[in-house]
């Protein structure tokens, strides 16, 4: 029995040293029960007192850990790292990446830094609606729905957004208030769009490309069809202006090809650009890009 107790105590100490406090407590309690049952054990009272003290100590640690602040404020360096590591790697769109980085900060509970970044992005046309939505979401998560509501009213009176934008933000906010922060939904919308059921022998499946225009802007376009290393894109007639400087033979230096498992960065050349003459897509443009060295 002495051996049994000794071995259990040793286990308890080890569990404790590895931070497994529940397991440690369990082992101590087993020792305690054994000692309680063995009435003829020498020094029994002292041993019992001793073991109770140990149990109490582990218990205190458990309580302290439970009450520890879940998400402490991190240093600026750490937050910068989080932003870098969790924004879409390889995406050339600086502002979209910044938005994603700020969302990561928010998810790690770094609300102050996240909000500061979102506020900056309110000034960026392409990101402002998303940024506004995320500000509301942060306020709801770490302040109160009143704060979020006040923010919304403030924007309304400042006329910062167009009516259409405001309607989007408002309906997002209503949804949020109903569900609070729907963790699942957030993750789902972020989930990779690719399917893991991909046939291994199939040519790599590219779902979208991002190209840098001669004026330096970057646009992202969905791929409508792919054959070998040529991808076809359909560009809506309302976006005609975006591609006005692109012609057959134009070389594209920095192209991002998005596939379900990786982002490729490479170059390509436009092999055709035509205006669709009939059918449901009449007036839209069809453009083929041949990918170099893929």
């Amino acid at each position: 029995m002495r051996e049994k107790i000794k071995s259990l105590l040793k286990q308890a100490e080890l569990y404790r040293s590895q931070g497994l406090y529940n397991e440690a407590k369990e082992s101590y309690e087993r020792v305690k029960r054994i000692i309680q049952k063995s009435k003829q054990l020498p020094n029994r009272e002292k041993l019992l007192a001793n073991i109770s003290k140990k149990i109490e100590k582990v218990q205190n640690t458990l309580v302290r850990l439970e009450n520890a602040k879940e998400t402490p404020q991190m240093s600026p360096e750490v937050n910068r790292l989080i932003k870098n590591l969790f924004s879409k790697t390889g995406s050339g769109d600086k502002d979209a990446a910044a938005l994603e980085g700020a969302v990561a900060l928010a998810k790690f509970g770094q609300f102050n830094d996240a909000i500061a970044e979102f506020r900056r992005l309110l000034g960026v046309e392409s990101q402002r609606v998303q940024a506004a939505k995320n500000i509301l979401r942060c306020l709801l998560a770490y302040k109160s729905s009143d704060d979020a509501f006040d923010q919304l009213s403030e924007w309304r009176s400042e006329e910062l957004f167009t009516d259409e934008e405001m309607a989007k933000i408002k309906s997002f906010f209503d949804g949020l208030v109903e569900n609070k922060w729907d963790e699942k939904g957030a993750a789902r919308s972020e989930a990779l769009t690719g399917s893991s059921e991909m046939d291994e022998d199939e040519f790599l499946d590219i779902s979208a490309v991002a190209i840098t225009l001669p004026n330096g802007d970057q646009i992202e376009l969905d791929v409508s069809f792919q054959s070998g290393n040529v991808v076809s894109l359909i560009i809506d007639k309302k976006d005609e202006d975006l591609i006005k400087d692109l012609h057959e033979g134009s070389k594209l230096e920095d192209v991002h090809f998005y596939s379900p498992i990786a982002i490729f960065r490479g170059s390509g050349v436009i092999t055709s650009k035509t205006r669709i003459a009939s059918g449901p897509k009449e007036g839209d443009y069809s453009m083929d890009i041949k990918i170099d060295s893929l």
């Binding site: 071995s7 040793k10 286990q11 080890l14 569990y15 590895q18 931070g19 497994l20 397991e23 369990e26 302290r64 850990l65 520890a68 402490p72 991190m74 750490v78 790292l81 989080i82 590591l85 969790f86 790697t89 390889g90 990561a104 998810k107 790690f108 963790e183 699942k184 993750a187 789902r188 972020e190 989930a191 990779l192 769009t193 690719g194 399917s195 893991s196 991909m198 291994e200 790599l204 379900p260 498992i261 990786a262 982002i263 490729f264 960065r265 490479g266 170059s267 170099d292 060295s293 893929l294």
Partner: protein, 204 residues
Amino acid sequence: MAVFNINKREIECKIVYYGPGRGGKTTNLEYIFKAYKKQVKGEMVSIDTEGDRTLFFDFLPMDLGKIKGCDVRVQLFTVPGQVQYSSTRKLVLKGVDGVVFVADSMEVRREKNMLSLKDLQQNLKEYNLSIFKIPLVLQYNKRDLADEGIPIMPVEQMERDLNRQLKVPSFEASAINGKGVGQTLQACLRLTLQYLQKQLKWAN
């Protein structure tokens, strides 16, 4: 998510160490940081809380040099294993290319291993990834504790518990003294790079 720069012939991928709390994920990375100085590029960053429990993640960037004519960079991450950090785990897993599952050999952690593997499967699924397809290796850690008289599970039992359906490579390890750490990482890298190679048709 791997990023493949075709012109520079450079590939960057992400390996995540997953597993139950206190199983030894951080210890694996600490050993790699010390032992693979040549391949490690930059500092190891650990965001942890009291008692060294990982709070957000550990991060260690590596550069493996040229493999089949392609420069290979790897980012190693660990997740926080404790149950309550579920949303952080999911976040860290985002864009993963390969997984090392660090299981704790101690008998008292048997159930926690299985729950954590289940949790991995679910989180992968949320990103449309399948645990049966993603490059994955298992590590049975803390084997050294047998010598200390601490009850640990036989490897056969851990295989039955965790690897019966997966049938992926598994390794015994004692991360605290580095045993099996390199072997585990290399196996995971090999699988991951093979997978990416096949998918990306890079080595031609």
